[in-house]
Amino acid sequence: MQIKLKFSNGKSKVFHVKKDSTIEDLLKEIGVNIETVIVKMNGKIVPEVEKLEDNCTLELIEFVSSG
């Protein structure tokens, strides 16, 4: 399956994953801790345990500690 990943800085990158992979699997592969992001799949906020959809666009919303 092919996934398009959009980062907070506006850049994006295409990844290829196995069928039935979850968002969490992909995040692990690219070294992003699930405690530090909220994920949108095709524009909707979803839990990381959700399965990736083929040709979907993932958006990572990172958050910063605010003083």
Partner: protein, 307 residues
């Protein structure tokens, strides 16, 4: 599709440590009841309180104001206003003040802005010109001082800050790592400060909500927040502790709640033991901050920038 444990609608979050997923509505309701519970259990807000919310425009302080206004905005005996500190950080603070102003306008909450420049004669940029690495220390100390002073002048009985669960357990670890029991025993949703008129009681309504969930609530409920990183932020002990705790939580879900529950259980015993041993929480006579010396770091720092 992952669905809500309660209603079967599309889920927005799955909490590993409880093994359940929740939709927007039920997640939001739960977060609100958790915050209400903290406020009730710890008696954070009482009749006739005038609450000053320390509002930076970031997610946690914005959420604190939003929720306190939602819970208490209609109570005739409780007043709420917001206070923003303009440290004078070019390219950063202006934008967040705009966002803070917007939120206050939307909620109909009185908003005050006070600045380092007016109070200390210098902006943070000017103060740390030759010592950039210490910016966070200076900034934190001075902001805290100013928030207390100004909220008191505006007549506040409580000063609400946006500290979330992650902030709190990071502080627990940092004090542990530094061996600073004096500060360790003064954490909590409503740190017991010496009852002196000069000090406004600080309260942390979001203290039991993980950072990820404060962010999610803001996103889901249309609370616009400032998202830039402060130009002075850098790798620090807190940064390392934050990474460590996030790694532990990912690997062992529930870690964060365990840390805070453990701390809360241990704290009364710690405080008692500390006192029994003759240990005193030494307080700076000028400002009330805990200190191991005669005059605390804050006051020293304030003296040093006067020159």
């Amino acid at each position: 599709m992952i669905t809500c444990y309660k209603c079967g609608n599309r889920a927005v979050i799955y909490r590993k440590y409880e093994g359940r997923a929740w939709c927007k509505k039920h997640f939001s309701e739960q977060l609100e009841s958790k915050v209400k519970k903290t406020i009730r259990d710890e008696k954070l807000i009482e009749k006739n309180d005038k609450i000053c919310v320390a509002l930076s425009g970031g997610k946690d302080s914005s959420l604190t104001l939003y929720l306190l206004h939602k819970f208490f905005g209609k109570r005739p005996d409780i007043e709420i206003f917001a206070l923003t500190v303009d440290e004078g950080i070019s390219g950063y603070r202006k934008e967040s003040i705009k966002i803070a102003e917007k939120l206050c306008k939307k909620l109909g909450v009185e908003h005050h802005v006070v600045s380092f420049k007016e109070e200390f004669g210098k902006t943070l940029d000017e103060i740390v010109e030759k010592k950039k690495a210490r910016a966070c220390t200076y900034c934190g100390v001075l902001r805290r001082y100013l928030l207390n002073k100004k909220s008191r002048e505006f007549g506040a009985t409580k000063l609400a800050v946006g500290h979330n669960l992650d902030d709190e357990i990071q502080s627990i670890f940092i004090n542990y790592l530094k061996g600073d029991i004096n500060r360790l025993i003064r954490l909590g949703a409503k740190p017991a400060i010496i009852s002196k008129k000069e000090f406004v009681v600080r309260i942390k309504p979001l203290r039991n909500i993980p950072e990820k969930e404060t962010t999610l609530y803001c996103l889901l409920n249309g609370i616009q927040v400032h998202r830039s990183v402060c130009p002075y932020s850098h790798d620090s002990v807190r940064f390392d502790v934050r990474n460590f705790l996030n790694q532990m939580e990912e690997k062992y879900p529930g870690t964060k709640y365990n840390v805070i529950k453990f701390y809360d259980t241990l704290k009364p015993a710690l405080v008692k033991h500390f006192k029994d041993k003759g240990g005193k929480v030494r307080i700076c006579p000028r400002c009330g901050e805990p200190t191991s010396r005669d005059i605390c770091k804050t006051c020293e720092l304030l003296d040093s920038i006067k020159d």
